[in-house]
């Protein structure tokens, strides 16, 4: 396993370099000029030109790229063009909210979706199965912002049970954190529940028809034991894959939920930085996301080995 980890870390270096080149190139090819945005709607051409020079945006692209890459190699991701704050500080400032939100959503998802999918598979073609599948289609089809606003309308505005917006760190105020997390995590979880329930169901259906399950039943195991101890672990690989990818997707793609519930997370930072053409922040974030995907894939591979010792790399 150590060899796997070492190999993956080594192979991530060229991956990150390729990501860096692509992100840098795409950003510079896309229309929009940070100096124009920074100067504002009423700025004169002279003011914009002076800003462009001040920000180093008038330098040839290869020089800009090499300067940035040299900084990254030493851990300096540069400063935000707009706020002049270090890129890494901005990312870490927003990371906690997104991580906490993503993890709580995944926990809710796994606790509800895996049993639902398993029951649907176990009661294949029954009304329970159809109900679970119908719910999962609905969960997948209704946009997160619709669910979010509906939850907010009832639980916050009408019944005044939960706060509308904001993020409270669980390290500072655990109770406040829970109150602020309930609505956004449920909103986010509903979409992923649909996905994971469906994957769990289809994966289990395949396993439940295999010989070892029949053998387990023949040996007199209870239905519950057959499902949870024999079938589910063997159906776990695709479920782990989807959960793993889901975590990575959540970290990089929670912008709608973050915007609806006004949570200052990575998703909002990304969208804001892209819209403002804040090049150093976008570049830093893309590298960070690439790192997250590499890391999550590694964790998924390790999880495969744990749940299925037959798997070798």
């Amino acid at each position: 396993m150590l060899r796997l980890v070492a190999l993956r870390i080594l192979s991530s270096v060229p991956v990150m370099f390729i990501v860096a080149v692509i992100v840098f190139g795409l950003l510079r090819l896309s229309p929009g000029d940070p100096a124009v945005i920074l100067a504002g709607d009423s700025a004169t051409p002279e003011a914009i030109a002076a800003l462009r020079q001040q920000l180093g945006l008038d330098q040839p692209l290869p020089i800009q790229f090499v300067t940035w890459l040299a900084g990254v190699a030493t851990g300096d991701f540069g400063q935000s063009i707009l706020s002049r704050m270090p890129v890494l500080a901005l990312i870490f400032d927003r990371l906690e909210a997104t991580l906490v939100l993503a993890v709580s959503a995944i926990i809710i998802t796994v606790l509800i979706a895996v049993p639902l999918g398993a029951i649907a598979a176990w009661r294949h073609n029954s009304w329970i199965d159809r109900a679970v599948m119908a719910l999962s289609v609905a969960g997948f089809s209704v946009p997160a912002f619709v669910i979010g606003y509906l939850l907010m309308l009832f639980f916050s505005v009408k019944w005044e049970l939960l706060p509308v917006q904001g993020y409270v760190s669980p390290f500072a105020d655990p109770g406040g954190a829970v109150r602020h997390l309930i609505l956004p995590s449920v909103t986010l979880a509903l979409v992923f529940m649909a996905l994971i329930a469906r994957v769990t169901r289809s994966s289990l259906l395949e396993v439940l028809n295999q010989d070892f399950v029949r053998t387990a039943r023949a040996k007199g195991n209870s239905q519950r034991r057959v499902l949870w101890r024999h079938a589910l672990p063997n159906a776990a690989v695709p479920i782990i894959t989807v959960i793993g990818i889901g975590i990575a997707m959540l970290i990089s793609g929670v912008v709608v939920t973050e915007s609806v519930f006004n949570i200052p997370g990575i998703g909002r930072l990304t969208i804001d930085a892209i819209l403002a053409r804040d090049y150093p922040v976008v570049q830093g974030l893309m590298l960070f996301f690439a790192l997250i995907y590499v890391g999550v894939n590694l964790l998924i591979d390790i999880a495969y080995i744990i749940v299925d010792p037959r798997i070798r790399y």
């Binding site: 000029d33 009423s42 706020s83 509308v164 829970v178």
Partner: protein, 527 residues
């Protein structure tokens, strides 16, 4: 510990009850704090580097100004105690009032003011004019400074009272000495609130605490003038990307004030006990033509469009609520000292045939014109389709290119031909405060490719502006402004599309809101 189902349900219910109670308690405990949702996220702290309104509004809390306009847009002293002009109008002397100090404890001196003026006048359009006639700007003593001019500058107080894009904020000399293109990172002013740099989260939240040493003027607050009395200890500003969430937060007592509620969202607060105030500076939309490229470098084609544009059509489609809008032909704003209808006639499709004749006379040769529009700004959404429809009626082929705001700004600043990434028609939206001054109104920037987008090239207007800046008599200034407006309509600098109101929403317990042309929250209190 194991819980049975009933205990678990009881525990959940208790947790919910606790949550609800503590949410309310938290809100009640925060009585000396005002929680404010601005119209945009603050990311740039330097009010000289950017003309963004959110940075300007932030600066009004932290910095003070030499003069400020009252609710009638008349300049009134703010940091200045007294001033005098020589008989020939070439020498102006100003003396600061007592008790002015920066947040770091240092007194505000004439040297600080001079450095601030020098930084400001390199970027502001009115400042540039003042700079061009200033031979000497000197400190006479600790609190007095003087201008020696090469020619009279009747608009001196108007310039020093610039209220928007870009106001003259006074900073310590060591900060103001920075080049304007170098963004300042230290926020030290002498205004009623101190910026809490350590709590600044760009694009998320930022806060201020009361400047206990601030000495407000004794006059009552009036517009941006008069006494700025900081009443609450702290102002917490929270950016809401979703306006609907902000409204819900206001209703749920998680916010005290929302700077901007659009006319169509106003209905969400009607019937509640929230206060809804019509903002003092309404919004004005415009159609702009690119003068630097054919076919709209031809005045006949611009006039043809002008003849068929009806403000009411745009307002009905773009705003919808007749209570929230008004037609307005005054290019310096309706309800302002320079309001006039000179040269204005609203267009209509009844003029279509005459307009088509003008199109036929023009140099338009059937090319497709490009209308650029930002797809992510709601106030622009209805403008481009309606303009395209009018162009079609006139027989002008057109295409709408939709992009997001940053690409739009970049593209709109281009003087290149359309084939090389240029544009022909765009729209722009202003707050009235940016229209009131003939020198500062960007729509009258007639310097061609060196000027504001649209690149209006009209030396006659620039000369009229010079006459205006020299003239000390307000009546004569008004006559010049009328001439400017006639010229702008005659040459079709742009087409105004009427004005509409936006609203500020406050919780019922919030008091002392000063409805100024720029949203300022330094005076707020909570009952």
């Amino acid at each position: 510990m194991k819980m049975n189902r009933r205990e678990a349900m009881l525990f959940s219910a208790s947790a919910m009850l606790f949550a609800a109670t503590s949410t309310r308690l938290a809100a009640q405990g925060a009585e000396s704090v005002v929680r404010f949702a601005p119209h945009a996220a603050l990311r740039v702290l330097d009010p000289v580097t950017t003309s963004a309104y959110v940075t300007r509004n932030h600066a009004y809390l932290v910095y003070d100004t030499l003069f400020a306009v009252d609710s009638n847009y008349a300049p009134q002293p703010q940091m200045v105690d007294s001033w005098e002009m020589s008989d020939d109008g070439l020498n102006w002397t100003f003396t600061l009032r007592d008790g002015l100090a920066f947040h770091d404890g240092a007194p505000v001196t004439a040297e600080d003011v001079i450095a601030s003026i020098r930084r400001w006048w390199q970027v502001d359009v009115v400042g540039l004019r003042l700079q061009s006639v200033t031979e000497e700007l000197t400190a006479d003593d600790e609190t007095s400074f003087s201008f020696r001019l090469s020619e009279p500058f009747g608009a001196m107080l108007e310039a020093l009272a610039r209220s928007s894009s870009i106001p003259l904020f006074v900073m310590p000399k060591r900060i103001a000495d920075l080049d304007p293109s170098t963004m300042l990172e230290e926020v030290i002013g002498s205004g009623p609130y101190r910026f809490l740099a350590e709590e600044f989260r760009p694009g998320v939240s930022w806060s201020y605490i009361r400047n206990e040493d601030y000495v407000p003027r004794s006059e009552p607050a009036d517009g941006l003038a008069g006494g700025k009395v900081p009443r609450v200890e702290r102002i917490d500003t929270i950016w809401f990307p979703s306006p609907d969430t902000a409204i819900s937060a206001l209703q749920n007592n998680e916010l005290d004030i929302i700077e901007t509620v659009s006319p169509d969202r106003r209905i969400m607060l009607q019937g509640t006990d929230m206060q809804l105030v019509e903002r003092a500076s309404p919004t004005a939309s415009t159609i702009r033509f690119n003068w630097s490229q054919p076919p709209f470098n031809d005045v006949r084609l611009r006039k043809a469009v002008q003849m068929v544009v009806s403000q009411l059509d745009y307002l009905d489609i773009g705003v919808g609520d007749p209570e929230a809008y008004q037609t307005c032909g005054a290019l310096f704003g309706c309800g302002t000292p320079l309001e006039t209808d000179a040269g204005y006639t609203d267009g209509s499709l009844e003029n279509l045939e005459a307009a088509k004749e003008l199109v036929a006379e023009s140099d338009y040769d059937g090319e497709t014109v490009i209308i650029i529009t930002p797809g992510d700004v709601a106030s622009f959404s209805a403008l481009a389709p309606l303009t395209q429809q009018l162009l079609t009626e006139l027989g002008i082929k057109s295409e709408i290119e939709t992009m997001e705001w940053s690409s739009f700004l970049d593209r709109r600043s281009s003087t290149d031909p359309v084939a090389e990434g240029g544009w022909n028609v765009a729209h722009a939206v202003f707050d009235r405060i940016d229209l009131v001054s003939p020198l500062g109104n960007m729509n009258f920037d007639a310097r061609g490719n060196e000027g504001y987008t649209g690149f209006v090239d009209d030396p006659e207007t620039e000369e009229l502006k010079t006459q205006y800046q020299r003239e000390p008599d307000p009546e004569k200034q008004k006559a010049i402004a009328e001439e400017m407006q006639k010229r702008a309509y005659d040459q079709v600098f742009y087409i105004p599309l009427g004005t509409y109101h936006q609203y500020t929403a406050l919780r019922p317990e919030v008091t002392d809101f000063v409805n100024a042309p720029v949203t300022v929250v330094y005076s707020l209190d909570k009952a």
